[in-house]
């Protein structure tokens, strides 16, 4: 789901205030993906025209998604933050090549994915498995749920460690599918592969994760 562009519809915003638009397209239905895309396209058009302040709503709308994806691929919060920052800068520089008929999300995630790969190549150490409590918010559970929650938390810790042991290609596809909830079509667009390849890649990724868990000598709950 595309995140809402809160900044774009805020008070005092020229877009919301009905600033004249060049080449007006048929009005999309408010609240739909088409409406979101039209707002994005207009923001991008203004950025390309040199008004960089119109980039802020896009950054604010997509950074939570971007931080989760980068964290899933890189494994540490600081590296993820740097990658997200660089990806937004790279995306801004490339906005004039963006096709407004496309959605911003897969296009941006493709840039972020490349940035994360560059970062992994640069650091050589690869995925840095940070302790889960340094990365994830801890949820407090009631006493009666504590035992069950402990089992699930342990399972997630194992998965988090195992994610660091599989290839970046497999990790990417799992992050995009499971953590970000992208459809096969969106993953295909982001990863630059045919949609038919996504199912196969997901199978190999899940199998690799399963094998990594087995190699760790633990029983996945």
């Amino acid at each position: 789901m595309t995140p809402p562009l809160e900044g774009a519809a805020g008070e005092g915003d020229p877009l919301a205030a009905g600033m004249p638009m060049k080449d007006p397209a048929p009005a999309p239905v408010p609240g739909t993906a088409g409406a979101e895309r039209a707002v994005e396209a207009e923001l991008i058009r203004k950025c390309v025209a040199g008004q960089s302040r119109f980039y802020e709503p896009l950054v604010r709308a997509y950074e939570p998604v971007a931080q989760r994806v980068a964290l899933g691929i890189l494994g540490d919060a600081d590296g993820a933050r740097d990658a997200v920052q660089q990806a937004f800068i790279r995306a801004y520089d490339a906005l004039d090549r963006f096709d407004p008929e496309r959605s911003f999300r897969p296009w941006f995630l493709q840039i972020l994915r490349n940035q994360c790969r560059d970062e992994l190549r640069r650091r050589k150490a690869g995925f840095e498995v940070q302790r889960m409590d340094a990365v994830l918010a801890q949820r407090l559970a009631g006493d009666e749920d504590a035992a069950r929650d402990h089992r699930r938390t342990r399972a997630r810790e194992l998965l988090w460690t195992a994610l660091g042991r599989i290839s970046v290609e497999h990790r990417e596809v799992l992050v995009l599918k499971e953590i970000e909830g992208l459809s096969y079509g969106e993953i295909a667009e982001t990863a630059g592969v045919p949609e038919g390849t996504v199912a196969s890649r997901l199978f190999h990724a899940r199998r690799a994760l399963r094998e990594a868990l087995e190699e760790m000598g633990v029983e996945y709950p």
């Binding site: 604010r60 950074e63 899933g72 937004f88 800068i89 953590i179 199912a199 899940r206 996945y220």
Partner: protein, 137 residues
């Protein structure tokens, strides 16, 4: 026999209903398929829960904004400096000062510029060959 890709599509809700029913029928007779489905399904749920727990730390907008604006600032500064320098040199050369004074002042200015440039080039070369430049504090 259900291919693995098909099982993945079923797990992710990407199969049309007719094909989904075929997968369900196959699972009724295949223990292995059922076991895989349960395991991958559990992984899926746990990975989704991981994603929900991931914290995002503040906004990167201020850093992005600074990085976007910085090149414009540099361009304006360099262009302005170049114009002022060119105008200054022109004004000095066409002034009524004596030729000797112009030559001496010009020599000092050119010498200083050459020293500054060579120091900058050395620094740049050091930065490129520094084996620790990728290490953060």
């Amino acid at each position: 026999m259900i291919p693995h890709d098909e099982l993945m599509r079923y797990l992710d809700g990407e199969l049309p209903p007719e094909r989904a029913r075929e997968v369900e029928r196959a699972m009724e007779t295949s223990t292995e398929l059922r076991r895989d489905f349960l395991l991958y399904g559990r992984m899926k749920t746990d990975l989704q829960a991981l994603g929900e727990q991931m914290e995002t730390h503040g906004t990167v907008w201020s850093s992005v904004s600074r990085a976007i604006v910085r090149p414009v600032g540099w361009i304006l500064f360099l262009v302005g400096t170049a114009i002022w320098l060119a105008y200054g040199i022109y004004a000095y050369l066409t002034s009524a000062e004596s030729l000797v004074e112009k030559l001496v002042t010009g020599g000092i200015a050119v010498g200083l510029a050459m020293l500054l440039l060579s120091a900058l080039l050395d620094r740049l070369q050091d930065l490129r060959s520094d084996p620790y430049r990728g290490i953060q504090q």
